[in-house]
């Protein structure tokens, strides 16, 4: 049995919050924010942000992008130029906050639907490999892809079975 996808209104929550966060906190206007099937459970992206959750369901938010775009977003958040960010720690901190806001905004709608959700502290990995355990029956995987010009980041939501 294949992993299921998220209820449409919750996908809309992900899309809406991704757009709002990008516009409000990162000063970028997305070219598109589209729902997409999250087919993979193992990721090798240059920058990967993880936010675990427990509650009615357990799982992980997985947010992935290139180092270049993570740096651009961090620079925008700090009102700096990307080349001014000498340390990955600054990029990691900003990207982690982005992941935190995405997860927190999703939680608000999830909890409003009568569920419980406790979020972890975000973790950001550079050039690592991450495997999440939702690729089994009754697992739910959904995501959105945010495109800004030639750059993009992917937001995946992985519920464990």
């Amino acid at each position: 049995m294949a992993a299921q996808t998220l209820a449409p209104h919750l996908v809309e929550t992900l899309r809406g919050s991704a757009r709002e966060i990008l516009e409000t906190m990162v000063s970028l206007t997305p070219t598109s924010v589209d729902a997409r099937e999250e087919t993979a459970a193992t990721f090798h992206d240059e920058v990967i942000g993880l936010l675990g959750f427990t509650g009615t369901r357990s799982g992980t938010f997985v947010v992935r992008t290139s180092l270049r775009f993570a740096k651009q977003m961090a620079a925008n958040m700090l009102m700096a130029q990307p080349e001014e960010l000498e340390d990955f720690e600054e990029v990691s901190d900003a990207f982690g906050e982005l992941v935190n806001m995405l997860g927190g905004n999703f939680k608000n709608d999830w909890v409003a639907g009568g569920n419980q959700m406790d979020l972890s502290i975000p973790t950001v990995i550079r050039e690592g490999q991450v495997t999440v355990s939702s690729a089994c029956a009754r697992g739910i995987r959904s995501g959105v892809r945010v495109v800004v010009g030639e750059d993009r980041f992917d937001v995946g939501l992985h519920f464990e079975a």
Partner: protein, 123 residues
């Protein structure tokens, strides 16, 4: 008149965004002290007087809800405490209020929203 503001958030990026947002909101009389979690926040509160405390909820070591409870318990007349959080659920907000918070500002936020929530407290 200068207002002393304590910002408690584990993200240095978010602390900078909050400071910038307050200035962009036209509030230019604030001086800031930063703390990276509730433990650092309590240390700052012990040695200083603040006119306003802004605190995240989801932090390591001591989360924002425990921090608010500690501040409210330690000070006879605690300053206004506003939670700045992505977690705008009724459950978290009412828990924060019951522990001594006076309001909340949901992330992401705009300078207009900062002015609306924090302006009266820093005016």
């Amino acid at each position: 008149m200068t207002k002393n503001v304590l910002i408690v958030d584990d993200s240095a990026t978010m602390r900078k965004i909050i400071m910038r947002g307050i200035r962009q909101a036209g509030i230019d009389n604030a001086e800031f002290t930063e703390a990276g979690d509730g433990v650092e926040g309590l240390a700052a509160v012990d040695g200083n007087q603040f006119d306003l405390i802004l605190s995240d909820v989801n932090m390591p070591n001591m989360n924002g809800l425990d921090f608010v409870r500690e501040v409210s318990g330690r000070l006879d007349a605690p300053p206004p405490i506003v939670m700045i959080t992505t977690e705008g659920s009724e459950e978290v907000i009412s828990e924060a209020m019951s522990r001594g918070a006076n309001g909340y500002l949901k992330k992401p936020f705009t300078p207009e929203k900062i002015q609306e929530i924090l302006g009266p407290l820093l005016g």
